[in-house]
Subunit: 166 residues, 2 copies
DNA sequence: ACCATTTATGTAATCAGTTACGGATATGTC
DNA sequence: GACATATCCGTAACTGATTACATAAATGGT
């Protein structure tokens, strides 16, 4: 091993500071997703991390439509649509047209889905605790990200750049 | 407009807390990337935000190999390889085999690349300032993300989960 | 010099999200 | 009731990253 595992590297990346933030966020996200995925694999459960937000919303028992979920989770409806197919294919979720509005497709956990929810509850719980622990160790990174989102909403990057340079 | 643009939504997402962190980071990253992209388009410059880290490394004048860049920027060498092709296709970067090690391909800005670097310098500068401003407004979110990376390196998510639940 | 192993790079396949667009249903106005 | 418009959802194409695999060059022990 000729150089430290990543130290000089990391510092260099950090020196780019804010400019490279986007990429760093992406990589961090990929990393946590991958790690979570491995946890399901270890347990031999046919469940994918990217299903979690939808699955978790439905766990409450309240049926929701595709767009409801998209709005709540801040993703495109297409994304939800794809996750829905996957969850239905696994038999974890069922859907039917809304009686009052035929355009809406209402999703709910199947019996199998509810059983899996119960089975995975301890894991979800552990995941949640681990994430909370992680966040605490990082000095409430979530709050910082909240503030970042707020700041961007208040004034988008483009306008900030314009203000700093015609 | 039947409900506030995103308020109840945001709070709900936040309530998921750490568990949904991965997705939120991804979305935030996508957003900043898109906004930055628009800035180049506005100026009619054929430049993409994802080239920036590589381009910026080479701006110093020091030639670097694909793997050098990958190590420094913490991305896969494949990613660098693809960016290299794009930058060469645009004529901004040139490459040649290392004289001492034929496996290595050494990259450097072309004259056109250096000209663009000079032309975009004010924009890069403004971007940097905007990002610094943003970061300050968010109470140093970058530091929080650094701490998150550190914490994950210290003890990966998987082990944390195991510790919270057999 | 020779062969095994490691390193640097590239190509192909995959993945999880997006935008673009189209079809079906609701809604509001005449 | 009919037509214009808006909303819900889905399919297709694109994006930007990754892993898996392949190739070429260097290195080291014999």
């Amino acid at each position: 091993m000729e150089k430290a595992p990543g130290e000089p590297v990391r510092d260099t990346v950090r020196a780019y500071g804010a400019a490279a933030l986007g990429g760093r966020l992406r990589r961090l996200s990929d990393r946590t997703d991958r790690e979570a995925k491995a946890l399901y694999e270890e347990r031999g459960v046919a469940f994918e991390q990217r299903w979690f937000p939808v699955f978790n919303c439905l766990r409450s028992g309240e049926p929701m439509s595709v767009t409801d979920l998209a709005d709540r989770l801040q993703v495109s409806h297409v994304s939800i649509s794809v996750i829905r197919s996957a969850l239905e294919k696994e038999g974890l979720v069922g859907s039917r047209a809304d009686e009052r509005d035929g355009r809406r497709r209402v999703l709910a956990l199947t019996d199998k889905g509810m059983a899996l929810a119960r089975q995975l509850a301890p894991l979800f719980d552990a995941l949640d605790k681990a994430a909370i622990e992680l966040n605490a160790e990082a000095g409430d990174a979530i709050a910082a990200i909240d503030r970042l989102e707020d700041a961007l909403e208040r004034k988008p990057l483009s306008r900030r750049v314009e203000d700093h340079q015609g």
